[in-house]
């Protein structure tokens, strides 16, 4: 701690973390008092999130600060450090969690398994540990925070633990989180280079050989990749994220996944002494495969939360592509281009946090109003839930990467960095880069398809079930939380030049170059390289559309207004149409299933003409589950059975084992 009266930003951050922990503790005291927990504790947590956002915003351009917390091992206290990179991710965590906490204040109800007070503890512990992960400056603190994050989120995922599927999803999540954590631990082991000093400052000073650098990078890729859900470590994500209560899904998809990106950035650009181009190539390949796989599966889903979870996998893939490109440019010392790719990546981190949280929160409102997650039972909710629907529309447009919202800016920047890749020393790589751009464009367009399906089937059309007519709109707390995130999507879309100024210190720190000065010169127009080369002005763009909208509307109204009549839909004169004749989610997924057939493991059950009760069913599964995970699980079971042979259940045998072990140890020692 610094001297009294002169508190640094990092001290205030610790205060916010402590605030979250206190709120969590208060939740335990008020275990079953829902009113207190929901109306006071969650909003207080949201205020802490808002403070975190503002604090991180001021800390972004400031010089790095360090602090040492006297907890932890005797010789190894917690080292904390606040630099531009961590401030940026803290800003994202703060902004997203403020909205999610406000939503959670209106969301949690009695009788959802875990009592509300305990949920409050787990939730705020989760938030505080994410801040801790980003602040940690030694491997020990990092791992403690990382594990706290994994465990608290595990308990949040299993909030409805009376449902068997939720329990198994939670188990899968726990296993994958720990497999990843082991890899990260090993990575830090490599990085400290036999010095026994686990402070990040020491790791930065080590000069590893290329071999050990690559080993460290690969371990980090595996560990953080498991958290981000990249191929083939993605299987837990579509199980765990939908199982959790919606605010927790939002927190996990929108915020927690970003800590994996943070970790990868921290290890590969800050801790490792060098970057090699093939790391970037590997990230590019993994990211592309993940993005394509995620979006194709998202388009075929029929459960709204699973659809969003697959869409998160897609977005993580895109982020990995951005990171890969940054690594390639950094390895070849093309720093301005590296800064462009890194800016695109970081921009997408923020916009993904906003729109994915918003969409998950919206599914929570829909779930509460209708108690349905299956798209096949929804429809027409825009009329009974206008607030949720219109706010979700903003999130959907941002997620589809459409101008003038947040998702488009990051895709635009990413495509720019692909397109203007100067000649790389490796001709093959230069050739492959445009192909990657083509695939990115395909993924983005498929994302649009998925989002139209998502929004259209839930909110548009006619209600597919009777009970939907009685669904009610979200409460005020929920609306406030969603509104905050929707405004985030809008601001990220309309103010790219201002936001890039915020990213500038981060890129300066990591790749010693930035877009800040160049973009600031052009005011409202975003021109990352030069005005002649490419420019994009979202405000003018929006004004152009809205201006033509308004002029068309006014002119039509003035010159030709012949009134409007309400009548039943025409439908080509077919009078017997009903809600079940609309396209279902399966119908919307059908072309995708057909085109991308090899991606799926499909089990179809088709009726024959002679069936008395014709039934059509289709089951989609993941190839990886059958190719990789089930064999691994079988192997584990087999090994367990072998070990089981040793367990006879008689004390004498166990004593014999102890005796043999002792003898063997003595032999080794002597």
């Amino acid at each position: 701690m610094s001297a009294m009266g002169q508190w640094l930003a990092i001290d205030w951050l610790l205060v916010i973390m402590a605030g979250w922990l206190l709120i969590g503790a208060a939740g335990v005291l008020a275990l079953n008092r829902l009113e207190l927990v929901a109306r006071w504790l969650f909003p207080a947590g949201g205020c802490c999130g808002l403070l975190l956002f503002l604090l991180a915003l001021t800390a972004l351009p400031a010089a790095p600060e360090v602090a040492v917390l006297p907890i932890g091992l005797p010789s190894l206290p917690f080292h904390l450090r606040l630099d531009a990179l961590s401030a940026y991710f803290l800003m994202v965590i703060g902004a997203a969690s403020a909205g999610i906490s406000a939503f959670a204040a209106g969301y949690f109800r009695q009788g959802e398994g875990t009592p509300p007070g305990l949920l409050c503890l787990e939730y705020h512990l989760f938030l505080a540990s994410m801040v801790g992960v980003v602040l940690a400056d030694d491997a020990y603190a990092f791992m403690v925070m990382w594990e706290t994050m994994a465990l608290s989120s595990f308990f949040l995922v299993t909030a409805n633990h009376r449902i068997a599927e939720v329990r198994s999803a939670g188990y899968l999540y726990l296993v994958m989180a720990h497999v990843g954590a082991i890899a990260i631990l090993l990575c830090f082991g490599v990085l400290q280079a036999n010095t026994g000093d686990y402070r990040f400052a020491n790791m930065r000073a080590q000069q590893l050989t290329p071999f050990w650098s690559s080993a460290g990078f690969l371990l980090a890729l595996f560990g953080f990749g498991a958290k981000a859900g990249v191929l083939p470590l993605h299987v837990w994500l579509p199980e765990a994220h939908p199982a959790a209560p919606s605010p927790v899904s939002a927190l996990m998809s929108g915020v927690m996944l970003n800590t994996a990106i943070y970790g990868l950035l921290r290890v590969s650009f800050d801790l490792l002494p060098m970057q090699q181009w093939w790391w970037g190539g590997l990230l590019l390949a993994v990211g592309l495969a993940t993005a394509l796989y995620g979006v194709v599966f998202a388009a075929a889903q029929t459960d709204m939360k699973r659809l969003l979870a697959y869409s998160s996998i897609e977005n993580m893939g895109l982020l990995f592509v951005g990171l890969g490109l940054t690594l390639i440019f950094a390895a070849f010392e093309m720093l301005p281009m590296a800064a462009l790719a890194l800016t695109a990546t970081l921009y997408h981190v923020a916009s993904h946090a906003c729109f994915k949280s918003l969409l998950f929160l919206g599914t929570g409102s829909v779930l509460h109003a209708t108690s349905e997650r299956n798209l096949g039972h929804l429809g027409g909710l825009i009329r009974t839930m206008p607030w949720v629907a219109w706010l979700m529309l903003l999130g959907v447009l941002a997620s589809a990467g459409l101008p003038p919202l947040g998702g488009f800016v990051s895709e635009w920047l990413l495509l720019q960095s692909f397109l203007f890749t100067p000649d790389l020393p490796l001709p093959l790589l230069t050739m492959l880069i445009p192909v990657v751009a083509a695939l990115i464009a395909l993924v983005a367009a498929l994302g649009g398809y998925t989002m139209v399906k998502f929004f259209g089937v839930i909110f548009l059309g006619q209600p597919r079930e009777e009970k939907l007519a009685h669904s009610h709109d979200a409460g005020w707390w929920e609306r406030a939380g969603m509104l905050w995130l929707a405004l985030g999507c809008l601001a990220l879309g309309l103010l790219p030049t201002q936001f890039i100024q915020l990213i500038d210190p981060v890129t300066q720190q990591l790749v010693q170059a930035g877009l800040g000065a160049r973009t600031a010169a052009n005011g409202w127009l975003l021109a990352p390289v030069s005005m002649d080369q490419a420019s994009y002005g979202p405000v003018i763009f929006l004004l152009g559309i809205l201006g033509s909208f308004a002029i068309a509307y006014l002119l039509v109204r003035r010159l030709y207004h012949r009134g409007t009549r309400r009548a039943p839909p025409w439908a080509c004169g077919f009078p017997w149409g009903n809600a079940r004749m609309q396209d279902t989610a399966e119908g919307f997924g059908q072309p995708i299933r057909q085109i991308f057939e090899p991606f799926f493991r499909m089990q179809r059950e088709l009726p024959t003409p002679f069936d008395k009760q014709p039934r059509y069913s289709i089951k989609l599964e993941d190839h990886f589950w059958h190719w990789l995970y089930l064999p691994l699980a079988d192997l584990a079971n087999y090994l367990a059975r072998l070990i089981g042979l040793m367990q006879q259940g008689r004390i004498a045998v166990y004593l014999l084992y102890s005796f043999l072990t002792l003898t063997a140890t003595l032999l080794v020692v002597m």
Partner: protein
């Protein structure tokens, strides 16, 4: 000041010429089919007739349904405003480059699809699904076509592309040739033209665009029809800008616009006639073959990009 004038002229010209282009292509195809051609002014009369009718809106349609025609119209008008057709001196052009232009088309497509799903009839949602299916393949293909030109010109700004391409020596870029073929295929698909969709059909199970706008009537339908012809106009102008950019007036020569207008009308007339010819000699595809058609356009565009890179070194 000349910039503002040329910008306004472009917008007004697009509004005025777009229905004429649709009418012209319809007239050509009537001639080719040995039918008596309708008047060239038929599209204008149709618009006038539709605007003068009352709009019938489905009972449970949401505001999204009523806002969509205006939004789509606005998107298409903005698209026409940023594509350099007569002049490269366009104040609006820096607001959107080639990628944003593709995003603009995607925005319009998403809104019209959502509006079609809003009423909740079987036709509407089917049309929306098919439109999005074509869109998700056509959008990256169009992007790749534009990228081929961007790589040659080292810019994604449409104005810079046109200026660079107009000043190059008369040589055929092999990459651009691939892109041209891909572009023709994409624009046929995107404008609901024959091998993919039939603009003259109703009540067919294979229809796409007509299924989308089935529930619209009166002024809403008029706006959507106008927007559709603006889209055809915009695509034709992209084609002209990429592959025949000669004759466009530049910022330094405002008077050249006087020459640019007849040049543009001439080029569009030829383009419309070729479109009619192509539509007449080809047959409509089964809907399940359409993804293959557009995917091959996508691959052609990517090959064009690779060819350019191979030859550039």
């Amino acid at each position: 000041m000349t910039g503002v004038i040329s910008q306004l002229l472009e917008i007004l010209l697009a509004l005025a010429l777009a229905p004429l282009l649709s009418g012209w292509s319809r007239q050509c195809s009537a001639w080719l089919l040995n039918r008596k051609a309708p008047s060239l002014l038929l599209p204008y009369r149709t618009l006038h007739k539709l605007f003068n009718k009352e709009s019938i809106v489905a009972t449970h349609a949401s505001p999204l349904f009523r806002a969509a025609p205006y939004l789509v119209f606005g998107c298409m008008l903005l698209a026409c405003a940023i594509i350099p057709t007569m002049s490269t001196d366009l104040p609006l052009a820096p607001a959107a480059d080639a990628i944003a232009l593709v995003g603009l088309f995607a925005l319009a497509r998403v809104f019209i699809s959502l509006a079609a799903m809003d009423v909740g009839t079987a036709f509407g949602s089917m049309g929306a699904r098919r439109e999005m299916l074509i869109g998700f393949l056509a959008e990256p293909a169009l992007l790749m076509v534009l990228f081929s030109a961007s790589l040659i010109c080292q810019s994604t700004s449409l104005v810079t592309i046109v200026e660079t391409l107009a000043h190059r020596e008369l040589a055929i870029y092999p990459g651009l040739a691939f892109a041209a073929v891909a572009f023709i295929m994409v624009s046929l698909a995107e404008n609901a033209r024959v091998p993919v969709d039939n603009p003259n059909t109703h009540l067919e199970l294979t229809m796409i665009h007509e299924a989308l706008i089935l529930e619209y009537s009166g002024r809403h339908l008029a706006l959507l029809e106008w927007a559709a012809s603006l889209k055809l106009f915009a695509y034709s102008c992209i084609g002209l800008a990429l592959f025949f950019p000669w004759g466009v007036a530049e910022a330094q020569a405002p008077l050249a616009m006087l020459l640019a207008l007849p040049m543009l009308v001439f080029k569009l007339a030829i383009g419309g006639a070729l479109l009619a010819l192509f539509e007449t000699v080809s047959a409509k595809m089964r809907i399940s073959r359409v993804p293959e058609f557009i995917a091959s356009a996508f691959l052609l565009a990517v090959i064009g990009l690779l060819v350019h890179l191979l030859l550039a070194r």
